[in-house]
Amino acid sequence: MLKLVNVNSRYGLIHVLKNVSMHVSAGEIVTLIGANGAGKSTALRAISGLQPVHEGKIFFSDKEITNAPAEKLVRQGIAQVPEGRQIFWPMTVMDNLEVGGVVTYSLHGKKGLYDAIEGMFQLFPILKERQNQYAGTLSGGEQQMLAIAMALINRPRFLLLDEPSMGLAPLIVKEIFSVIARLREEEGLTVLLVEQNANAALKVADRGYVMETGKIVFEDTASNLMRNQEVRRAYLGKDKREIWE
């Protein structure tokens, strides 16, 4: 469904993505793990169209989408939940969902939009209770659920999730991951999940990629990666050894 071929991307002179190649098949949950600053978010932003690709190509459903603008890719079914709960904090939860559903609104009108919002309320009931509250006043977990709902509201085929567990209590992380797993079961949603919390990510994922300083260094099934000595040492905090050893 998604394929990256030798993708390179830079911020000015800083070469961040170096010949990144990866693929995600329909219905898979694939995780991209790696240390802080490795380039995971940049990779997601390159896919979703927020970050320019300087060399290489990206394909989605066999169509090339390299450097297509983000606002167009949403309409093709790619949704991204960016890092750090990028919700519109001075607006209410309801307003956030409406803005998140602009695409649905333009395709299916007002009724389509409010049906979709109702669907999100069923997925995350707490959002219904909080619908008139300002998004900035929500708890961290609620903000993350809102951010995810804003991405899911247009019924994407492919979801890019950037560190959804960051700074959240384990119970909430579990709830969020179970929603993702359920959407995959029920609707065949395909997911690319970026995480620093490699343990949690490898548990829900089918396959994984490990990124170090902008390069993919490992690629394997999730269960093999969990057994891989180097991965365990560097990212799973096992064997009580530190990254710099």
């Binding site: 979703s48 169209g49 927020l50 603008p69 983000a70 606002e71 949403v74 309409r75 949704a79 991204q80 960016p82 990028q86 919700i87 519109f88 904090w89 001075p90 607006m91 307003d95 409406e98 803005v99 998140g100 559903g101 602009v102 695409v103 609104y105 333009s106 804003m150 991405a151 247009n154």
Partner: protein, 301 residues
């Protein structure tokens, strides 16, 4: 006879004048804020939108003899179109936009527009009839022009329309979202470029309205943009950049203080009042009277 009860009626007279001037500054300030919120840029051509609004209205009503409502509508559309063209031809094509670059472009556009206004309308000032007659109404010994009521009323309508637009329409909410977090808005499928264009359109439209309603009182000429723009800019800054209600309140404050200064001290100092308030506020509260420190951060284009 004029002196009877003069204390209060004088005050009232100055207040009317202040509200009238303040309404214009408020509208100009709102125009700055709309573009600032979508781009992080101060549009120095804002004053020129006001001039074009006034001069076009003069042509349509005094030369083409159109009715006031029709001329009003056409003028707003015309200036809105100028705003759109400005964005499409001078802002959008910029390859690596940054705030300084864009501000310099807006200065260039303002010079261009001013030159065009001089070519089309000449150097003289232009008279336009008041909307509904110029016979003053007497209120407690002070005189109130019907045009002043039009000005205040139209400001109120614009402010209400503004609230409805930004809080109750999808497109208005999309514009706000884009101003709050551009990347998140794009991920939601909002075309940020179109939002920027729309902000220029709205801003130009509001500028045109200011020009249209003030022209019967000040007699518009092509040089008026700079001072009107400066005071509207002051109102936007004092109100807290990006905060439109702040701009309205600060605009009114400017207008009233100016009128009082002119009335009680001397009209020579009138134009200095706005600058004085601007300087004092910048020293004491750099984020503006109603701005939060948050809002004061510059938005990246």
């Amino acid at each position: 006879m004029d002196q009877v009860g003069s204390g209060f009626s004088d005050f009232l007279q100055f207040l009317f004048m202040g509200l009238q001037r303040g309404s214009i500054y408020a509208l100009v300030g709102m125009g700055y804020n709309i573009i600032y919120n979508s781009t992080g840029v101060i549009n120095f051509a804002q004053g020129e939108f006001v001039v074009f609004g006034g001069l076009m209205m003069v042509t349509l009503t005094m030369t083409a003899n159109l009715s006031i409502p029709l001329a009003f509508l056409l003028t707003v559309l015309f200036v809105t179109l100028i705003g759109v063209l400005m964005e499409r031809f001078t802002i959008k094509p910029v390859k690596n936009p940054n705030v300084l670059r864009l501000i310099i472009i807006t200065i260039a556009v303002s010079i261009l527009l001013k030159g065009m206004a001089m070519c089309f309308w000449g150097k003289g000032s232009h008279y336009m009839r008041h909307f509904t007659g110029s016979d003053p109404i007497e209120v407690f010994g002070a005189t109130l022009l019907p045009q002043t009521l039009w000005i205040i009323g139209i400001l109120a309508v614009v402010v209400i329309g503004f609230v409805l637009f930004f809080n109750h329409t999808m497109i208005g909410k999309s514009m706000r979202a884009c101003a709050i977090n551009r990347d998140a808005a794009r991920l939601a499928g909002i075309n940020d470029r179109n939002m920027v264009m729309l902000s220029f359109a709205l801003s130009a439209g509001i500028g045109a309205i200011a020009g249209i309603i003030i022209t019967p009182i000040i007699q518009m000429d092509y040089t008026r943009g700079a001072l009107l723009g400066l005071k509207g800019f002051g109102a936007a800054v004092v109100g807290g950049l990006g905060n439109s209600f702040g701009a309205v309140a600060a605009g009114m404050l400017f207008g009233i203080m100016e009128a009082m200064a002119a009335g009680y001290i001397s009209s020579h100092y009138m134009d200095a009042v706005a600058l004085l308030i601007l300087l004092i506020v910048l020293f004491i509260r750099p984020s503006g009277l109603f701005g939060s420190a948050d809002a004061a951060r510059l938005r990246e284009f």
